[in-house]
């Protein structure tokens, strides 16, 4: 599928040929840094001085490139589609090649950055467990009550939470049985068929 670039995007990217070959490499690097760490006006200013181009052109170029790389990575467009999409900009072959290389080299990393923006539920991190036997309590002496105490570590939006839970032996075996069934589902024909056909 082709990438559709709005007039504004095309205008931003239109600065690239004026910047020159070496500049494109530098702008690419700045665009990636922006995706990794956010906007860095100082870096743009120093690049502008180094390359002897105005700051505005640098900034537009960086934004245009960032958008181009993000959209292409998000949609995971093929090489051919990428080349066709940027052809409309009317750049030189050399520039097209550099852009394509920039895309292919960094696609994986950009996708993993975008993956972190997706809505997420608390996710499993790890589990610690401990075997306990309750021998007595304030209300009852001389007991033998086995229990498994667990600490479930979860990640939620970069915070780690730990929850202390307890269960008895019978429930533990039930949990294991149920979760093993869950794991087995991925190996069933139904799931395999869907995974195969959805690529």
């Amino acid at each position: 599928m082709l990438l559709v670039l709005s007039a504004e995007h095309r205008a931003h990217l239109g600065c690239l040929p004026r910047a020159g070959g070496a500049a494109v490499g530098e702008l690419g690097r700045l665009a990636l840094e922006q995706l990794r760490r956010g906007a860095a006006p100082r870096a743009c200013e120093s690049a502008a001085r180094k390359l002897n181009i105005s700051v505005d052109i640098i900034q537009h170029g960086v934004e245009g490139l960032a958008y181009l790389l993000t959209e292409s990575s998000k949609l995971m467009i093929s090489e051919v589609d990428f080349q066709d999409s940027i052809n409309v900009l009317g750049f030189s072959d050399e520039l097209n090649k550099s852009l394509l290389q920039l895309y292919l080299d960094n696609r994986k990393e950009i996708r993993s950055i975008l993956g972190e923006l997706a809505p997420r539920l608390p996710s499993y991190h790890s589990l610690e467990w401990r075997l306990d036997v309750q021998l007595a309590s304030r209300s009852l002496r001389q007991q033998i009550k086995p229990a498994v105490t667990m600490k479930l570590h979860l990640n939620q939006n970069e915070d780690q939470t730990a929850q202390v839970l307890q269960t008895d032996p019978a429930t533990l075996l039930h949990l294991i049985q149920q979760l093993e069934q869950a794991l087995g589902e991925m190996k069933m024909n139904h799931c395999r068929r869907i995974v195969r056909n959805m690529k």
């Binding site: 608390p122 467990w129 075997l131 009852l140 001389q142």
Partner: protein
Amino acid sequence: MELSPYAQGGWRLLGDPRRFPRRPFAALLRAAFRSLLDDPQAALDDPDLKDIDPTVLKHCHAAAAMCILEAGKQKADISAISTCLEDCKLDKERIEQFCTEYQKMTFSFSIELVTVVSSSIGRSPLHITDVSWRLEYQIKNNQLHKTYQPSYLVTLNVENSDSGSHPDVSFSCTMEQLQDLVGKLKDAAKSLERATQM
């Protein structure tokens, strides 16, 4: 076996034939046993008890229940219970009535029932009662298309010993993470098995 001053006060009232004639005494004992074993709302509405002052009734009911629980907790025998009730100035006949009821309970319901009640009193961490899971295959989201990844959503149903219910603990995980979790649970089960064989 010892009772608190509050409980002893209740038993002293129970031992007084002017406050508690025969039939009300027997009715109160029945109510105390039933409220611990079958039915927490039981029978302070027995007609034999209608002439007793409600505050006195509550005090004595509490005293009787505390005595039953304390006897169960300490696994006290009849002589220990008798001694304790003698200290509260209960006459022989009433002590015997209580002990007979207590023995009936331990033989017919088996003392296990009282220990189940007692063992459910007290604090403990959230208790897992059940688990449900959901397997899904992610295709795309608004930030990233063509993600194509299976993921599990696991929900642990938990109960709080204090308030009974608690929001469930839910989390998502990949297949590898679920395998890690199941592996750890199996380790726990294996060590439990080894411990019981020792």
